[in-house]
Point group: C5
């Protein structure tokens, strides 16, 4: 189990917000410096494809499933859009929330037009929801498509969001995805390391990147370049599309232990399961991420043994 991390408060957090930031950091990482992010922003990003269809639990057909999982499982933070949080928050007031500030659908493909995901809500609106409704909003998130024709818009919004969030003691997670006509291989380890470095230059606390591959084969050691490049900005890996539990947990363990990742951001591999199984999967992931558990231990948790 990792030692409690020493939290370095970035200087764009003003003195009056420093304690809030430290407390958010401590609680969001369970005092470990590692992050288990439960990603629930796909209702816009992937429309209903992740929630309904063959192989997906009927529990996942409605949005409350996400909240139920977040309530019953051990997670670091639950990331979703402000609208959903506002709608369900009164019944799920104690969840640790991260407001995903931008989102786009996947209808327009890169071949037609490079991706642009623009702010839906402003940091101040997340702050207001925290302060007025008393929700436990710990951070905000934003996706940057590097290499898109609209990169400049997203770099600007991301930089501003990090700056403003820090002003109020919120943590930030940037989804760093190279994508666009200019990006032939989104999984290239050198490119992903570049994306992690951009995240560092933007000053974010965490960067979510895709797992790198070489010649189409994932290898968690390839992540090492990125985790070095990002410096004090920590890297978490996207869970990606659905896979079997053991492979998934092994990959997660490798990303941390071989790749230097500080956690993971997982969505489909959790919420496409029925509630009970989803909770167990969360707990398994958290065991690896937060308790330095072995893959076998985690698998046992997942299997309810």
């Amino acid at each position: 189990m990792p030692a409690e991390s020493e939290i370095i408060i970035p200087l764009d957090v003003p003195k009056e917000a420093a304690e809030t930031y430290r407390e958010n950091y401590r609680r969001m990482t369970h005092g470990t410096g590692n992050l288990m992010l439960f990603a629930g922003d796909q209702k816009i990003e992937h429309l209903n494809a992740d929630f309904y269809g063959e192989g997906i639990s009927p529990d996942d057909a409605g949005p409350e499933h996400l909240f139920r999982i977040a309530k019953h499982a051990r997670i670091g933070v639950f990331a979703t859009q402000l609208g959903l949080i506002a709608r369900y928050g009164s019944d799920y007031a104690d969840l640790p929330y991260l407001v995903k500030l931008n989102s786009k659908t996947d209808l327009v493909k890169t071949a037609q037009r490079d991706p642009l995901s623009s702010e839906l809500h402003h940091v101040q609106q997340a702050i207001d929801l925290r302060d007025r409704a008393g929700l436990d909003i710990m951070g905000v998130g934003y996706t940057v498509y590097l290499g898109s024709d609209y990169e400049a818009v997203m770099l600007y919004q991301a930089a501003q969001i990090v700056h403003r969030a820090h002003q109020h003691g919120l943590l930030t997670v940037l989804w760093m995805y190279p994508r666009g006509k200019a990006v032939p291989n989104e999984k290239d380890p050198h490119l992903i390391a570049g994306a992690a470095g951009v995240a560092a230059a933007l000053g974010t606390d965490f960067a979510k990147v895709n797992a790198p591959q070489r010649d189409g084969v994932a290898d968690s050691r390839l992540l090492k370049e990125a985790t070095l490049a990002s410096g004090r900005t920590k890297v978490v890996c996207a869970g990606g599309s659905r896979t079997d539990a053991k492979s998934f947990l092994q990959q997660l363990h490798d990303q941390i232990h071989l790749g230097g990742a500080a956690g993971n951001a997982t969505g489909r591999n959790i919420h496409q399961l029925g509630l009970d199984e989803a909770v167990r999967m969360c707990n398994a992931i958290s065991a690896i991420t937060l308790d330095d558990a072995s893959v076998d231990t985690a698998l046992a948790i997942y299997q309810g043994r």
Copy 2:
């Protein structure tokens, strides 16, 4: 007849606006949680095509027809642009209004350019009209074209409109229409469910969607995926183009009872009729939507029996 719905006030409604929101919700749904929306925004959306021509009552040639119907019929809310409301409101002060905040003409087709419908008026202007002129403005509406090249603009405006409307206790209805070069089949049930899920993530109270079809055939059971996906955001179905009364009412009944819809948003099937018949059609629709009437009962109302 459905039990009076329990109203869950979303957390972006501040405490001081909670009672206004609850009251708007209660009155707009006649205490049932279901919505009968009389759609009168087509003077921009369809120019004069819906108001003048063969098969359309001469009553429909001028805009006051819409106000007369709304006055004499039983409706949930009457949706139209702010300019019309300002112009006729002094003579129709007691109508339940929903201000449609964006609109576009249908002159530019998708083959030429993807649809962009941008704000005409701001939420604050609807609030001002409510507060200064004393009109009964209960909500605001906005259309989002998912999959358009301009999706980012509309997602942003929609999210902001929901947020600001809720700040003042107004209800929101989002017209969720997938449309653009990237959308080959606007009626696909899975896509419409995706649109309903986006509406939920945007935090709106109601989402208006088109009736889904499979292989070109409408089937209200196909709507079920969408009404699940939207969770606490309720789904109402667009009335669509003109059809015969019995089919129309049967479809509406099915959408609610088989599809899980919480009502309907109907325009042409009402206002293209002469005043008297239009009023009876409204009342028939409201009987199904608000009183849980059978199709036969509703048809009798329409026929004035």
Copy 3:
């Protein structure tokens, strides 16, 4: 001669501006509800083509000609850009002004790029000129190109201009012109009626439309669909390109008596004449528009008989 119209004050005019609005309406329509608008915005719209060349009086070569006509003739309101009003206003302080808030040149043709005419000045700047310089500014005007790729920009600015003008008791005139690659026939009666309906939905007091044609032939009865569609928003017809006086006056008379128009907006058919003749033409037009004069009476006025 028409009875003095009863003025219905739209509800976006606040109470404190109601008397200003009513007085502007009364004076701009000479208490008749009908409008004779002298259009003098072509120095941007048509560059120097309307002011200099064969068949155009040398009087028209300089902008002061417009002000001289407006001073000596009987008109409802004189529409031109703020810059010209500011420059000549000190010598023509008593004219009834309408500030045309947007304009574009005709250099870029639709085949190259769809038309975009964007705000030059804000409503507040017209208000300031009224209040500080003591000019008799009664209203503002704006052109909307429906069906242009830039329609959304213009619909937004138009809606906002109407709203803000009304806040200060100013009247509004919208030039409603369908134009763009998506518009094959700008003179189509159904399309012009649609444009008039859009104007109503935008809440303007007056809409200026082109005279409709069927199969290339103008017929003022074709205007009836538009004057019905616009409801309480009144329709005035553009004077169009230069024609002989009798035909012009006959057309104007027909537009009012057969087409339901509430007046006209005439530029070239006035200012391309020498000062004296231009004044007589204005007076002839006003006789028909404001006094319900016959074509013969108006013609006699024009001919100075």
Copy 4:
């Protein structure tokens, strides 16, 4: 020698700024109503092409040359960008300055993309420099490319700049250049007259236009249409590319006496000379523009006789 012009203060100059405006007008035109503008904005507009190369004095290689000329010669006003004024102003505090508010390089040709020259600085920033640093900033300038795809942006900025400058008593000069794919002949007299008319509609004090040509031949009488069209807005002619002194002075004399121009705006024909010769050229131009001198007299001044 022209009589002292009577200054008509436009009505967008508020009362409290009227005396400032009048004094700026009087001094900038040396009490004659005519303007000798020394144009020094080419470091952005033409990069280094106007300042370094064959036939250009080595004095011109650095920007201070412009300030030295302006200091030692008799000019109306020296136009250049705010950055240069800020950098050299402490050593040239008494020069009469006009801040050129927009500029673009000439790298992108019209064949690639229509010209867009957007604001670099705001009127308020010029005012601040005047008021805080005590510089003698008398006016602001701005270029409008009529017929460009971006015409709407520049018409808006120009209109706003004129309005705001007048609010503070500053004079305005608009460079009115038809340019773009839609403009086959920038020198067409009718088009230049149109541009002068647009300048009038924008309310500027002076419009700078290119010298018109017919069939490729310049004739100052062709300018007459423009100087009529612009009315109370005065027209000054661009000096254009380098030519011999006598032809240049003759052309200037003709533009005033045959074409009705109220002066000139000259850059390269001055600053490409060595300091001493440049000063004499300025003085020669001023003799014609401000003293109504003959060409021979002016030539003698230039030649130092």
Copy 5:
């Protein structure tokens, strides 16, 4: 060794900020008027290509390497993005910082789309970081791509940044890079001189340009045209891609002594070395730039002799 430069404070620096400006200038140039800028903005500009790979020290894999060099070496100022400064500043509080306000990745090539690098942070945010966190932020930097289709955006932002930075006594460095489809030869000496002149017109203190070449061959004398053109704005040369130490130092010496440069901006030639060697390279560069050392002396410093 150069005499201590006399600092001319530009007039857009208000009186209350003059002493701050002077002190920043004095310290950033070590009292010499020359600038040694350590460029560390490549984590966005070049992604990870400059930091990881063959021939690059493993020290360079993480961002802290840049801070360590800046701490241990003699530099004028260390330029990097605000995010990185905020993240590491608490441990490197005494470094002389310049906040690079815009950046873009190099993924999208000019053949696909002309470069646009837009603001990430505002000058005020750099000021806040200086004032609240007590960091020694002396200036801000910004890149302008002249000749890009988006030139107007960058010229505007650059002009505004210079103006606002000066308001607070910060120095400014503009990276002036001609680039785009309209720029066939970025290294052309005449074009680079033009870029330096634009920098002067924008009012910046320093302009960073690429070393000019004729027929593909660099010659520091070619820089002379640029250093003349920029006047009181000083020119520093980009270090460019990695080269051997002796050639690099000779080139730097020539740029200053033959080309008139006031220093250099070097990144890769420093940070791709291990810490110790990087520090020695910095010191060697500073010896030439700040102490007027010979190439041999500088080389001895680099070699640790």
